[in-house]
Symmetry: none
Subunit: 208 residues, 4 copies
DNA sequence: GATGAATGAGGCTTCATTCAT
DNA sequence: CATGAATGAAGCCTCATTCAT
């Protein structure tokens, strides 16, 4: 009945997806330790327990692997916005998220990879496209979030949502960047609190 | 007075230093367009109008060339602090500096190179050392600057100078980073003004 | 009469043979455009609408595929001899055949493939064997043809049939080779006519 | 005085040219035994007693090496024409040249390489260009040669020099091709004599 | 019988670096 | 000091082939 029958060995979609993830995880590790250019396909495939030729059945090019990783990484930012939207207040939610981030070792990795991504985006046009695309969506999402919080009286109504969204995002980028490069120390928590506090003084409605 | 006499042909110290600078300038251009790893010594030496072997008489290793560039680049940050110290007010000086920066094309390059440096610092220990060293000095300098301005009533006395210094530096890093990768557009000026304004709301003394 | 009964699912001999031909046709196209070594099994199997693994069920090795193609190609030469044998006169038949050949685009392909075959025959012993074998048969066939025509007074009786057969074959090889690599132009017809005319002057009985 | 002075180690023009020749000789051997595609740069450089990287200082690409060889090889054909022009009669000169060729082992190699070149010319546009270019020059040269010999009464005046030039060249290509692939046997001499004799019957003035 | 998945071996090319001139 | 020449190691990618499904 079904005409989707195809002769021969059926495609193992699950297996392929899993292997793909494995490769991407391995690649993330390598890129993290060496950067996109210094990490070799041999290294990546070894860490992924696959042959080099096998790797090329999942990603037609090293550049494509990088690109997939970049996309995946950038998409994660959008998830934060969703999390923040559900928080009782933006300040509380943001602080919680930032602290969680500052203390998790894996998150430091994510930030360091982001650094490499940003650097590469300023050279490779394809990566730049993906980068700019996600960035635009991110700004929009945060704009809406801020507008929402303005309506709730958490943020000064005089601030333009979009410009402020960019400002906040830039600020967070800088903040996490400093934490990631300095290495996660115990002082990070104090630093994060102070920095967010300062930002918040700029965001909240002018004292009536 | 001291006997500086030396046998043989005198070394042309000036010439050497000049050539060194030329090489570093050429290297900066290459690293900017390709990154530290993707830029080759052949490429660099060609841009510097020198043979590849000649390059090795000024820098024993490609890594050393990178390091020299990193140091030079980071030192420039310290100069800003000096400039800011002489401004009539920190807010005015900072705004002027930031706008100047946002509009200059060459400065976008500097920021993009900084991105590469930061990314590399998170991997190479030697670069990390230089990086952290300059960072520390920078924090100290900005701390003093802030303390100075606190004394003049420009900044809230409740803020701890050192932590605030880090916060401000992180914020500026994020700000310039966003400008650099987005490409210098005309909207940059509005963005910079808004962002600094927001930061300033957080820094200035609480309305009495 | 003989008991041809066989257990299990009967083999679809026709289907197999057809598929084999398809693969060979696809391979011919690829080898033509890239040569034996540069054409990949992936490319061939794609053109043949079969999986790479599937290809290996028809030909145990790429070399075997090449060999099969070589055999098929060389056998075609023998067919010409048959055609020529039926012509009213050798000169007329040969001219007709040559012109037909020179004007057909597909025949240019055949000649170009023959070039590759000859080149490969000078290296690979297996191909050389097939090549020499067919060549020998060809020479024999043409020898008989020539002897036959000698008897009819079309060709000088002083010429040794075998040596002359080789000469004629070599001449035709050269002729078609020049046409094939030069690309089929309208001048080809004049060239073919002139060349055959010259050859014929050498073959026909000395003016009595 | 001379302003051609250049600092540093002077270029060893002789040495470079010699090395270049060595590499080309090695490449010729490899290409002969395996063909352009099957012969590897590793193999070639080993036979040339140079590192693989070193090879790339003389030829920027394997394709360039092939091209250089093709050019060199094709140019040799033009030299024959010069030799033939000085012969007492075209028939004598050609026979001498052909026999010399048929008996020399190295010449068989040259013909086999020519086969590969012709095959490759039908695919690679660059090689095709060189090929066609030399071919054109060759036809012109032989045309002049034939016209010259026509004036001396050696060749039938009714024959068009250019078309005949192509015919003769095609014939010789075919002839040498058959000799080269069959391997140099003792019967070659008889074959060559008979073939040339046949051709000559077609060329010489009609018996008065 | 036919397909998807996997892989060792190898191909071309480039790189950072050295050494003689 | 500066250049030409050379090279081992490595990088990305492809190939012919096998094997489980």
């Amino acid at each position: 009945m079904a005409n989707t029958y195809r002769k021969g060995r059926p495609v193992d979609l699950e297996g392929r997806a899993a292997r793909r993830k494995e490769i991407m995880a391995a690649a993330r590790g390598c890129f993290l330790r060496k950067g996109f250019h210094a990490a070799s396909t041999a290294e990546i495939s070894e860490r992924a327990s696959i042959s080099v030729a096998g790797l090329y059945q999942y990603f037609p090019t090293k550049a494509d692997l990088v690109l997939a990783l970049v996309e995946e990484d950038l998409e994660m930012d959008l998830e934060w916005v969703g999390v923040l939207a559900k928080a009782e207040s933006l300040q509380i939610g943001l602080t919680r998220l930032a602290l969680e981030y500052a203390n998790d070792v894996g998150c430091g990795d994510a930030v360091r990879l982001r650094l490499e991504i940003t650097a590469e985006a300023s050279r490779d046009p394809k990566i730049a496209t993906v980068f700019t695309d996600v960035e635009t969506r991110l700004v929009t999402a945060v704009s809406h979030l801020l507008a929402d919080r303005q309506a709730k009286g958490e943020i000064d109504l005089a601030l333009d949502p979009e410009v402020t969204a960019r400002t906040v995002l830039a600020f967070l980028d800088g903040l996490f960047g400093w934490i990631a490069v300095g290495g996660a120390s115990q002082e990070n928590e104090a630093f994060v609190r102070a920095a967010l506090e300062l930002m918040w003084r700029g965001l909240k409605p002018a004292a009536s």
